[in-house]
Amino acid sequence: MTDTPARNDDVALRIRGLNAGFRMSDGYLPIIEDVNLEVRKGEVLGIIGESGSGKTVTGMSILHLLPENAETKWEKFDFLNRDVTGMDEEAFRALRGNHMAVVFQDPTGAFNPAKKVGWHFHQVFERTAVKSPDHAQRAKDWRNAAINLMRDVGIAHGENVLGQYPHQLSGGMLQRALIALVLAFEPDLILADEPTTNLDNIVERQILDLFRDLQKRLDSAFIFITHDMTIAATLCDRIAVMYAGRIVELGATREIFDDPKHPYTQGLLATALALEVKSGERLQEIPGELPHPGDLPPGCVFAPRCPHVFGRCEVERPPLFDLPGREVRCLLYEDDDVSGR
């Protein structure tokens, strides 16, 4: 194997200055701007945002899986301490699966509807065979390996599941199977894109428990994309909050929950947690609506909804300010910036 990067650092992924958008029939539509991320091995990074905030595009950019009409720009993309910026697509393809893998939001859609679940396992094990002779050996006995893996993710009768078509399985079951597929790769980076959104409450909880459990067992780096603050709180080590294509706040989970800096984070926490703690009072609102990516305000993208807005907000796109243990994209914290900008 030539595409295995050396593992001499525990930073699995480092991204600087990621921009992405789509070429549309009526021009270019920017979706995300200036995204900077870092994930260490064994760490769970949560990306939180509402629909349209660009969190999925961020995730798919990392795997080079955006649709053909997408355009991405990177300042820097290090993966396992190897600079993969501008790597050619075929070489990057070799990284996918064996080194970075995704758990999708809709497990039903992630399986080839014309093929049985077993076929998927077979192909995935075949794909891992290049990793090492052990893997090659395992690929030969893929059936047992698959059943073992499925047991790990809580599928008791894997042998039955192998012979079934995706549509014959429930969403929860499929999500477990998909996770098993991803685990078969033993990837260095796992991206989970709202993996529980389409599931019922109880199953959702079970899958989340499974993730929590896996994350403890594996030393992979995790990126967990979600719109749900509660889930993020219970699962993630660090959290990046996205709004309208930008990371507006990034920091350790506990700190962000205890002391949200960005007005948007504050509002989000207030509205989300208000329901949970059940004050019984009127819920706190974030007034207004999410902006359309093609129609962003000229200044801070949150300015029109921000309770702390002041003059410059409406004309200036704030950069990400480095605070101790925190990055915030808000002019309120300009003076607290420690990077010396």
């Binding site: 509402e50 629909s51 349209g52 809580g154 008791a156 429930s170 019922d200 409450n201 109880i202 959702e204 909880r205 079970q206 428990d209 929590r212 459990d213 719109h227 603050m229 509660t230 709180a233 219970t234 699962l235 080590d237 989970t253 509002g267 989000l268 509205t271 989300a272 208000a274 329901l275 949970e276 059940k278 019984g280 009127r282 819920l283 706190q284 609102e285 974030i286 007034p287 609506e289 999410l290 909804r305």
Partner: protein
């Protein structure tokens, strides 16, 4: 003040609507699936459910997808025909109403749908949407329509400038406000809100929840609020009914249900709410067993396969809904064992 705390409200003794032994039966696919499956050719989406809806209350119906909560909601509104049982509204069985009597009934019963984008005719302006029922039911004269429309718009927190907009020019939150406005045009006695906030973004959701509460407090409209979101249910509802595969499993005042659940399923559902610390290994909240197959031939309790409390007796028949206190009903043979953990 908490609404839920005020569970017993004026006129509670005399239900606005009484659902009696209601069954809604769907024929299963005439085409392929019907022929291919060996099972029965129909599905009881709602299976012998009895329920009172009290005047002025917010009754929450919670459950997972496929539990029949939406079906009940639509049956109340005569969008589905009852296979068996009756629905008494102000003393009249409405399941048999036709023609002008049905049209008259429409004024009193309204609905708010899950997906705001598809609940408004994309070819009609907001004004048309709101004016149609006004004119159809002769609520006001032609020359008063615009004034009345503006009144409604204001009531749901929209500026009158929205009057001539088309749905695609509105955001999700605004659309839902229009939909709520439409439901209010005829000053109905009862509104069924079907997952009315689940498609909305977190930051917009609280706006709409607040709107619901305002309307309820101002107008005293009875609301049947269908949701899978337990936080939302707790926030908004006076009483909660828990459904599972067509059956009503538990019914009681919100506080009672949340603090003292007496059905294993309710308990499991609520278990998903408990914020889990990141490192906290949780006991399974429900067995991972196969869910009940609604088209199968299983008799006995529908929750049997996943129930941690199951005993042999549970397999004989689905337990009846019993009063365990004046306000609290449970359909479980083993309810006394629940909640004691």
């Amino acid at each position: 003040m908490s609404l839920a705390a005020d569970a017993r409200i004026a006129g509670a003794d005399e239900p606005l609507m009484r659902i009696d032994d209601l069954t809604i039966r769907f024929k299963l696919g005439g085409g392929l699936s019907g022929i291919m499956s060996d099972g029965p050719k129909h599905l009881d989406a709602v299976d012998r459910v009895s329920l009172d809806i009290r005047k002025g209350e917010v009754l929450g119906l919670v459950g997972e997808s496929g539990s029949g909560k939406t079906t009940i909601g639509k049956a109340i509104l005569r969008l589905y025909d009852a296979h068996q049982g009756s629905i008494f509204f102000r003393g009249t069985d409405i399941t048999k109403l036709r023609g002008s009597a049905l049209k008259a009934l429409r004024r009193d019963l309204q609905m708010i749908f899950q997906d705001p984008a598809s609940s408004l005719n994309p070819r009609q302006t907001v004004r048309t949407v709101l004016a149609t029922p006004l004119l159809l039911h002769r609520v006001c004269r032609h020359d008063e329509v615009d004034r009345k429309v503006d009144e409604i718009l204001t009531q749901v927190g929209l500026s009158p400038i929205f009057r001539n907009r088309y749905p695609h020019e509105l955001s999700g939150g605004q659309l839902q406000r229009v939909a709520i406005g439409r439901a209010l045009t005829l000053s109905p006695d009862l509104i069924v809100a079907d997952e009315a906030v689940s498609k909305l973004d977190v930051s917009v959701r609280s706006q709409i929840l607040n709107l619901f509460r305002d309307i309820q407090e101002e107008l005293g409209t009875t609301i049947v609020f269908i949701t899978h979101d337990l936080h939302v249910a707790r926030y908004l509802c006076h009483r909660i009914g828990v459904m599972y595969f067509g059956k009503l499993l538990e019914l009681g005042p919100t506080n009672e249900i949340y603090e003292n659940p007496r059905h294993p399923y309710t308990e499991a559902l609520l278990g998903t709410l408990k914020p889990t610390a990141k490192d906290d290994a949780n006991a399974p909240i429900a067995e991972a067993g196969e869910a009940y197959n609604p088209t199968g031939t299983t008799v006995g309790c529908r929750y049997y396969a996943r129930c941690p409390y199951r005993v042999d007796h549970c397999q004989t028949a689905h337990p009846p809904l019993e009063n365990i206190s004046e306000e609290h009903k449970v359909a479980c043979y083993e309810w006394q064992r629940i909640g004691q953990r």
